[in-house]
């Protein structure tokens, strides 16, 4: 079974600082891959390399077997790569419904040309994430948790094959986190692969099929959650060296 998404030896430098250092991994269809690591490990940069927002200094990105390293961001969206942003970016002047409708209008395959149809699809996505009641509100009137769900809904409206989630659980309480986990599982059940960046270890442990750990831009572990979290290097990365 060919990997849906493959990253080969991706490196990204920012005038002297190496944000992502020779990272390689694959994402299979229908898989939930968790991406963890301390702050500044390069997780968001890696996601940006996949979504096309940034270009790698070295390395390749492949989607469905085809190299997409030079493909611009909007075309990757049309191929089926969707992402949410850690620093949330709703379209503030538009309603919640219309925010999501943009995704439906421009998503996979170029999206839906008719506005009315796009709004219908948007409504369905809002219901899916639990924002159905807020459809006619202005996007900037939503609170933090609402905005996280809006980000998800926007990405889902694009009908992606891969969903890149950047810290959709940050700042949420236990109940809200459980709800987001449920939504992500529903997303996977639809056949969409998900790459989830998260800091809430407990949540990502139960959610992910596999875990990938980044530290100082390098991949330091890749495997089943229970094993990865026992890994000494990973523990050290988060907690620092033990004083002997």
């Amino acid at each position: 079974m060919t990997a849906l998404l493959e990253v080969r030896h991706a490196t990204r430098r920012f005038s002297g600082l190496v944000a992502v250092d020779d990272v390689s991994f694959t994402l299979a269809p229908g898989e939930i891959l968790g991406l963890i690591g301390p702050n500044g490990a390069g997780k968001t940069t890696l996601i940006s390399l996949i979504s096309g927002t940034l270009a790698p200094s070295e390395g390749e990105v492949l989607f469905q077997g085809e190299t997409i390293t030079k493909v611009p961001a909007y075309q990757r969206a049309r191929l089926g790569i969707g992402r949410t942003f850690q620093i949330m970016r709703p379209f503030p002047g538009l309603s919640v419904l219309d925010n999501v409708a943009v995704g439906a209008l421009f998503g996979r395959g170029g999206g839906q040309p008719k506005l009315a149809m796009a709004r219908e699809q948007a409504r369905a996505c809002l219901d899916f994430v639990g924002l159905g009641r807020n459809a006619s509100q202005r996007a900037d009137e939503l609170g933090g948790p609402g905005r996280k769900r809006l980000e998800l809904a926007k990405a889902l409206a694009m009908q992606p094959k891969v969903l890149l989630c950047d810290e959709v659980m940050a700042g949420l309480n236990h109940v809200e986190i459980e709800e987001v986990i449920a939504v992500i599982r529903k997303v996977r059940d639809q056949g969409i692969s998900v790459l989830v960046i998260e800091h809430v270890i407990k949540a990502i442990k139960s959610l992910s099929d596999r875990l990938l750990v980044l530290h100082h831009g390098e991949k330091i572990a890749d495997g089943v959650p229970s094993e990865v979290l026992e890994n000494a290097t990973v523990v050290e990365a988060y907690l620092g060296k033990r004083r002997t």
Partner: protein
């Protein structure tokens, strides 16, 4: 109530169209100027209001449209309509060739680049023989103000219908997405470069058409007046005063500001310009989102609306 609105608009357009038969000559001339300014404001609305790229270069399209008509009619003896098409063609070439480079810039850098473009074009055209260089060109006269009035009105209706279409089309949504959050739009599948150039070109086409009509109407043009940079600011002020990113805002802005300016000019000549300046300053402080926003919010919030604007933007 909602069904009443289109009916009101149709009535307003009909009244405007009938004006040349009831108004004095000065009124008709004022009408032509105002209608053309409204077209320019609407054109700017497409690139500045909806796409969020505040262009200070629409005067270039206006000038190209003017010169297109002038050169076609004076040098090649072609009819007016062909001249208009030529002018639009020049505008499209300009938008597509320089637009891509300039639209890569963000925010005020884009504004300044378009301003620089405008300055450069003025200087270049002053040196082109075909365009009559510094002296300019004189067009064959056509003494039919009513015709020009109706042409201008028709163009305004066309521009406004285009914007109305924008608000309900995939293209328009893409533009708004670019305005609200360009990177977010790209990641959702919007071809931002293509859309920006299209918006810029569309705005340019309307500006060029307005320039062409204006040139034939006043029968004379030279580089200074055709590529008049102050036109840029006028159209922006009118669009912003009326409400950028709305369908009717720029029209309201153009009509109201022109009317005020005209009244003041006839009453106290030199104060008119001064008043304009004061109005702009006051408007930016009190109503930065334009009249359209006032109409939307003041019924709800009353005077608090203005205080809220200040509070949101002060240091």
């Amino acid at each position: 109530m909602k069904a009443l609105r289109p009916a009101l608009i149709v009535v307003a357009v009909a009244l405007l169209a009938a004006l040349p038969w009831f108004g004095s000559d000065t009124l008709i001339q004022f009408g032509i100027n105002t209608l053309l300014l409204a077209v320019l404001a609407q054109g700017w609305n497409i690139i500045g209001g909806y796409t969020g790229y505040a262009s200070f270069g629409n005067s270039v399209f206006y000038g190209l449209g003017s010169y297109g008509v002038a050169i076609a009619m004076v040098q090649w003896h072609l009819p007016f309509a062909v001249g208009l098409v030529f002018g639009v063609g020049l505008g499209i070439v300009f938008a597509c060739s320089l637009g891509v480079a300039v639209l890569r810039l963000k925010g005020h850098y884009f504004a300044i680049a378009t301003l620089a473009l405008a300055e450069v074009m003025t200087a270049i055209v002053s040196n082109v023989k075909l365009a009559g260089q510094n002296v300019g060109l004189v067009l064959p006269p056509l003494n039919n103000d009513r015709l020009f009035y109706e042409l201008a009105l028709g163009l305004l209706v066309l521009a406004t219908l285009t914007i109305f279409w924008l608000t309900r089309s995939r293209f328009g949504f893409g533009l708004i997405a670019i305005r609200e959050n360009e990177e977010g739009a790209a990641v959702m599948g919007v071809n931002t470069t293509l859309y920006k150039v299209l918006a810029f070109t569309l705005a340019g086409i309307f500006s060029a058409l307005a320039g062409g009509i204006h040139a034939y109407w006043i029968t004379f043009l030279d580089p200074e007046s055709a590529f008049d940079i102050s036109l840029n600011v006028k159209m922006i002020i009118m669009a912003v005063f009326g409400g950028p990113g709305t369908v009717l805002g720029p029209i309201v802005g153009a009509f109201s500001l022109s009317a005020v300016s005209e009244i003041l000019s006839s009453e106290v000549t030199s104060i008119a310009g001064l008043f304009f300046g004061v109005v702009i300053v006051a408007a930016i402080v009190l109503m930065p989102r334009g009249l359209a926003d006032i109409v939307r919010n003041v019924p709800k919030s009353g005077w608090r609306y203005f205080r809220q604007n200040i509070r949101a933007h002060r240091l």
